[in-house]
């Protein structure tokens, strides 16, 4: 008690008032930040980028030892299974060899048909590989932090992030050599998709769980359990035909789907650089 009194007497009046209103002031700032975030002003993204620029390298440093152990374990496991793996790859290689000629023929035919129809191709997309350094999967958010390295200047918000199975998420923010990815399972994620089989369109939304919902589907959509949903390319934000999810329940009232990837097994991802949206000047002219 005596010590507190000493402290109390040392403080001047202004400081005491400031201290009393500090919590209320900070609450007000936090509320303001939420409001500004909701309105989506550029100010928040600037602040976020600044803090992310400092925190992401720290997380990467913390993740380095785990990466080294994981790498060592995987290499050891690969050596143990090397003969079985080799046999499996040989068989796959034979199958692919037979498939290669068929694909060549189809591609040639496709080229001729496109020429006849005067089809306009979309620009070829570039891609970059990035390493996952951290993952956040909670009731509140589903995101990844990835290390871009020298490719960082080429990467922008909104680009698709995929793995060998399909779409994982979209770039949310790039700062320094790092980027944050919003997974398709995040509550904030809305992906325009189309059924690969019936070509019925919809919007795939996340709920921070492994279950995704397909909304805004046509009334008479022919969607069934097991159907693959791929990106529709509508809106121009994502390239078309990237596998996204598989339908798990196709009810009358709600259609649910499961993502193709497992968030915990993501180590390396590919970022697709896809810029077909017109710039502001062109948009103005078009309007």
């Amino acid at each position: 008690m005596k010590r507190q009194k000493v402290l109390f007497l040392k403080e001047n009046y202004v400081l005491r008032i400031l201290k009393n209103f500090m919590v209320a002031g900070l609450f007000a700032i936090a509320l303001l930040l939420i409001l500004v975030h909701k309105i989506d002003l550029g100010l928040i993204s600037g602040v976020s980028k600044g803090v992310f620029y400092i925190t992401a390298p720290l997380i990467r440093v913390a993740a380095l030892p785990a990466d080294a152990i994981s790498f060592g374990y995987k290499k050891a496991a690969e050596i143990v299974n090397i003969y079985q793996e080799n046999e499996k790859l040989r068989q796959e290689n034979q199958e692919l060899f037979l498939l290669k000629d068929k694909i060549r023929a189809v591609r040639a035919e496709n080229k001729i048909l496109k020429k006849l129809l005067h089809h306009i191709d979309l620009p070829q997309e570039k891609s970059y590989t990035a390493r996952v350094i951290a993952e956040n999967g909670s009731a509140f958010t589903n995101s990844l932090i990835i290390y871009l390295g020298e490719a960082a200047p080429e990467i922008k918000s909104g680009y698709a992030v995929v793995n060998e199975q399909g779409l994982v998420g979209r770039i949310d923010m790039v700062s320094g050599a790092y980027a944050r990815v919003t997974l398709i399972t995040d509550i904030n994620s809305k992906i325009p998709v189309v059924s690969q089989k019936s070509r019925d369109r919809g919007i795939l939304t996340g709920h921070n769980t492994r279950e995704l919902s397909l909304i805004f589907t046509p009334l008479l959509a022919e969607l069934h359990k097991g159907d693959l949903l791929v990106t529709s390319g509508i809106g121009g934000g994502l390239p078309a035909d990237i596998p996204v999810a598989r339908i798990t329940r196709a009810g009358v009232e709600n259609i649910t789907a499961a993502p193709l990837f497992s968030a915990s097994s993501l180590e390396i991802v590919k970022i697709i650089v896809y810029d077909i949206l017109p710039d502001n000047a062109t948009t103005g002219e078009l309007e």
Partner: protein, 176 residues
């Protein structure tokens, strides 16, 4: 010169709790490639904030909670401000409720933490629901609450060690 020295000493008292929480957060951020581990990412924040306020309120203030909230929001990708408000609520409740509990006894301290963790996580859940105008899943939220509550004794050990090893408040009072 003495004033500067005093200022730095005061600052270090506030920085050590902050650093201890951030160190634990970074350790929990080491990828384990398991979905279970993801739910543990936020545990050091809740346990750390509660521990420092209830045990050493003179070493942790609302600005520290604000800084941690900003860090949590930006690394996790939640809307900026949600984590800050959540941690400020935890700070405010801990500060006022710990006076009514005998928090020097570990069992009571743990019980109070369970209560406060429940309130805080529920508050954060409601805030996120309101922000996105969509319901968030209850199952992971409950699971996160159980994990946060169960891991408190383990993390508190580390914070107790930090407090004993690095904070010499006796010296600070003498200087003042």
């Amino acid at each position: 010169m003495t004033a500067l020295k005093n200022f730095l000493t005061n600052l270090s008292v506030f920085i050590i709790p902050l650093l201890s929480i951030l160190v634990m957060v970074l350790i929990f951020y080491i990828p384990r490639y398991s979905e279970f581990w993801n739910l543990l990412r936020s545990v050091p924040f809740y346990t750390g904030i509660y521990f420092w306020i209830s045990q050493r309120p003179d070493a942790f203030n609302s600005v520290s909670a604000f800084v941690l909230g900003t860090f949590a929001d930006i690394t996790a990708g939640t809307p900026l401000g949600v984590g800050i408000i959540t941690f400020l609520v935890l700070y405010f409740c801990s500060l006022h409720l710990s006076a009514y509990f005998n928090v020097k006894k570990f069992a009571y301290s743990w019980l109070l933490f369970i209560l406060l963790a429940g309130i805080t996580l529920l508050f954060k859940g409601l805030l996120v629901c309101a922000f996105y105008r969509s319901l968030i899943p209850l199952k992971p939220l409950v699971f996160e609450f159980l994990l946060v509550s169960a891991l408190y004794p383990l993390l508190a050990r580390f914070y107790i060690w930090t407090e004993r090893r690095f904070i010499h408040l006796e010296e600070r009072y003498e200087k003042i």
